[in-house]
């Protein structure tokens, strides 16, 4: 098989990297990153082989590899890299590049290319949702309940439509990755058994929920053992707080949507309210730790931050904060300020969902899919038992 070396791929990936200097060209393929990685497994070459693919311009192979999503950016490879080529940041940049390539609308490419592009996409969505909401807004007194300010059914209508559109977009993005993977495995002659797929999905989802791999990444088996951090500061716990908090809020909202008439008044100790509050505070705790680490920038992987590293957690934090403020304004009416907070919250929440396949949020899709594909690829082949017919 011939392959034409394409130097532009590395340039494109580097544009997604944080900071001015991502010197992946310096890599001399010693394999230290792979051998030091707590998550490198049988196949080897992770992340070394991916860097080689990028250096040679093997875009098809790079985007077909689920390996870029198996990395949780513990930064140990970057700490030991003899060429200071920053493999961890390379992996992050490649993930950002992959997000923009899997998305067919071109919006992800725009959002991940530059700060301006990212803000432009954000502004576009905010204006669209803002106008949509404002179109149904009734002139009411500042003391009116929130759902008199903007009708609940209208919010829900937009929300359902949004979920459908984003769902389709996400499915197409995941299919883009899935198809590349299957083609890649076929090229390599690796047999894939359809029957093993459900098991692979189950194992990937439990892995994602339990942070099984993330824990291994952060298990302190690194050498030298890092100063043992209290459990509530471990990277995987912080991530679990954000993710768990988010899922809890999602659950509370869904239950509200299903079982509570829109806008009906409930007491503060209403279970779904409590659930939402706990989820929100947990999520905020995790986000606060993430922000502090990125601001302090003391060690990899937080030493360098791209704009996209700031944007997604900021959007999430803003959504949660305005949500909590909205809760407050339900019980302690703030007048037109409360209306403003509510309006902002709804717009931000819609932005968050709309930008799911476009921002770092997309790791929810692609990492889970990657874990599935990895488990699928490693599912034991069906044993062929041949019995000699000598009766």
């Amino acid at each position: 098989m011939t392959h034409v070396v394409d130097r532009s791929l590395l340039r494109k990936i580097k544009r997604h990297g944080a900071g001015s200097k991502l010197d992946v060209d310096a890599c001399f393929q010693c394999g230290n990153c792979t051998a030091v990685c707590p998550l490198a497994e049988d196949s080897g070459g992770f992340p070394r082989r991916l860097i080689r693919m990028a250096q040679l311009g093997m875009e098809k192979e790079l985007l077909a590899s689920e390996d870029i999503w198996r990395c949780y950016a513990c930064g140990e490879c970057t700490q030991t890299c003899p060429r200071q080529a920053d493999p961890a940041e390379f992996m992050a940049a490649t993930r950002s590049y992959a997000i923009s390539r899997y998305d067919f609308t071109g919006l992800a490419a725009l959002a991940n290319r530059s700060v301006l592009g990212n803000l432009a996409v954000f502004a576009l969505f905010s204006i669209v949702f803002g106008l949509l909401l404002a179109s149904a807004q009734a002139p009411v007194s500042p003391q009116a309940p929130l759902f008199d300010f903007i009708p609940g059914w209208w919010i829900h209508a937009i929300g359902v439509a949004l979920f459908v559109v984003v769902g389709i977009s996400a499915a197409l993005g995941m299919f883009a990755m899935f198809a590349r993977f299957v083609m890649g495995q076929r090229r390599k002659g690796v047999p894939l058994r359809l029957g093993a797929l459900p098991g692979a999905i189950a194992s990937a989802v439990t892995d994602a929920l339990m942070h099984r791999r993330f824990q291994r990444c952060d298990s302190g088996q690194a050498t030298p053992p890092p100063p043992v951090e209290p459990w509530y500061l471990r990277a995987w716990v912080v991530h679990a707080a954000v993710m768990g908090g988010f899922l809890t809020m999602l659950l509370a909202t869904t239950l509200d949507f299903l079982f509570k008439p829109i806008g009906s008044p409930v007491p503060p100790w209403y279970p779904m309210r409590i659930l939402g509050l706990v989820g929100g505070l947990t999520c905020l705790y995790g986000l606060a730790i993430i922000f502090l680490r990125r601001i302090r920038a003391a060690q990899p992987p937080w030493r360098k931050s791209a704009f996209s590293d700031w944007f997604f957690p900021s959007l999430l934090a803003a959504t949660v904060l305005t949500g909590l403020a909205t809760e407050v304004s339900v019980y302690a009416p703030l007048g037109s300020v409360g209306h403003g907070i509510f309006f902002t919250h709804v717009v931000l929440a819609m932005d968050l969902v709309a930008m799911l396949p476009l921002t770092k949020f997309a790791h929810v899709l692609y990492r889970t899919l990657a874990l599935t594909l990895f488990a699928w690829r490693h599912a034991p082949a069906r044993e062929h038992v041949t019995v000699d017919a000598q009766i």
Binding site: V36, T80, P224
Partner: protein, 442 residues
């Protein structure tokens, strides 16, 4: 050899460093009837080479080559040697270099000491022998090592219990507890910097965990283990004295690595690792010996053949840079490496009971801080001219050996000879100019 040198002594050349580079330069210059002063920081001349077992690619005994040079320099009528002496500063005015030296106290009067070692035998205090890389022990007052030159006892004030027994047994009353550091300034026409190299610490790369196991050793320690007159007289591993059955050499452990600030190649590690592996095959015929390398740099005359011989001897060569060394049970070590030798199974772990880390060469002295000599960005003495490789940035000051960059013994000796030649030419031209000046101006 005269240890009592004063400022009125004016050598033609001052050589900084009494290792193989400095000694070779000194001998080449002294044989041309130039007066040479050799300044050595340690208690004996001989430098790094006198501590080696054998040299590549000939497997000649290192001390059999070094000792005659040391002895020849020590007995040469044109060479003076100051040991235990450091260069504090140097300044150049009108072509004359004024070098301020600090002579550290040895607490032994070298004019009186006859090297009988009675003090050493009587001394009760021992500490880990720096010459043996800490493997053996040495008395607080002792002749530095068997073939040290000068053969004079030196008292180590840090470890001395000041019991006074040495002074009581000394037949010549040479012990002087009240010695003070002495500074003196030497004026000279030219200088050769031959200050050599150090190895960076085995702990420099935290991933190799040398701080957590005494069985992860520097190559200099392996030299002592292999030396016929080494600390144990045989190869034993430091933690428990076990005879090693599986020895690993980790190449590029302290160089070609920007994460520890040594991006350059130390040049000699491939060859000495092969040499040590060969010597180990002789010392431990049953041991497995593996060299983990990125690429073998066998650049010199006969080196490639040396490497091929090692392969033929059954030494394992695994291509891959070791990423991590983990101490495990029984004092053994586990190495993590991604190798390109095995396409099916590139990610490998290997167990060994002794690991030698090929540490990087770093300059032993930074002259840029206190002298007119400039250093390059890697810290070694800068040699600005391609066609005059021993010339430094300062006129009249030359450089030889590993002070100018990582170098093996063969190249060091060649460069030392070249530096001596350049000094000789420089002095000749300078003095001819003075004569011409005198003739013109009367």
């Amino acid at each position: 050899m005269n240890t009592q040198i004063n400022s009125d002594y004016v050598p033609d050349v001052l050589v900084i460093g009494g290792g193989i580079a400095g000694l070779q330069s000194a001998l080449d210059l002294a044989d041309q009837d130039l007066r040479v002063l050799v300044v050595e920081r340690n208690s004996s001349i001989g430098g790094r080479m006198i501590g080696l077992s054998k040299v590549f690619p000939t497997l000649d005994c290192a001390s059999c080559i070094t000792t005659p040079k040391m002895s020849a320099a020590a007995h040469h009528p044109n060479i003076q040697i100051l040991t235990n002496t450091e260069v504090q500063a140097m300044e150049t005015r009108n072509g004359i270099h004024s070098v301020r030296l600090l002579q550290k106290p040895t607490y032994v009067n070298f004019d009186k000491c006859i090297g009988c070692r009675l003090c050493e035998y009587a001394c009760d205090t021992e500490y880990p022998d720096p010459f043996e890389e800490g493997l053996g022990s040495v008395r607080a007052i002792a002749v530095p090592f068997t073939n040290a030159i000068p053969q004079k006892a030196v008292l180590d004030a840090e470890h001395c219990a000041t019991c006074g027994v040495c002074a009581r047994v000394c037949p010549t009353d040479a012990i002087e507890f009240d010695q003070q550091p002495r500074t003196l300034t030497i004026h000279t026409d030219s200088v050769i910097v031959a200050s050599g190299f150090n190895l960076n610490a085995v702990t420099v790369k935290p991933q190799y965990n040398a701080a957590r196991s005494s069985n992860i050793i520097p190559p200099t320690m392996m030299e002592r283990l292999l030396a016929p007159h080494g600390p144990y007289g045989r190869v034993l591993r430091p933690s428990d004295g076990k005879i090693p059955s599986s020895v690993a050499f980790v190449q590029c452990a302290g160089s070609r690595d920007e994460s520890i600030g040594v991006p350059y190649c130390s040049r000699v590690c491939c060859m000495y690792a092969i040499k040590q592996a060969m010597l180990l095959s002789g010392a431990l015929p049953l041991a497995d010996i593996t060299i983990y390398y990125m690429d073998i740099r066998a650049f010199g005359k006969g080196y490639e053949q040396f490497f091929q011989n090692a392969r033929a001897m059954g030494i394992n060569f695994v291509r891959g840079k070791v990423a991590r060394v983990d101490p495990i049970e029984d004092g053994d070590l586990r190495l993590h490496v991604e190798t390109t030798d095995d396409a099916e199974n590139p990610l490998q772990e290997h167990r060994h009971d002794l690991v030698v880390l090929a540490q990087g060469m770093i300059p032993a002295w930074n002259p840029a801080a206190t002298t007119p000599v400039a250093c390059a960005s890697d810290g070694f003495v800068a040699t600005p001219s391609l066609t005059d490789p021993t010339a430094t940035s300062a006129p009249g000051i030359f450089v030889a050996g590993a002070a100018a960059g990582p170098k093996d013994i063969v190249d060091t000796i060649a460069e030392a000879g070249a530096a001596a030649m350049q000094v000789s030419r420089y002095l000749h031209e300078k003095r001819a100019a003075v004569l011409v000046g005198q003739a013109v101006h009367g």
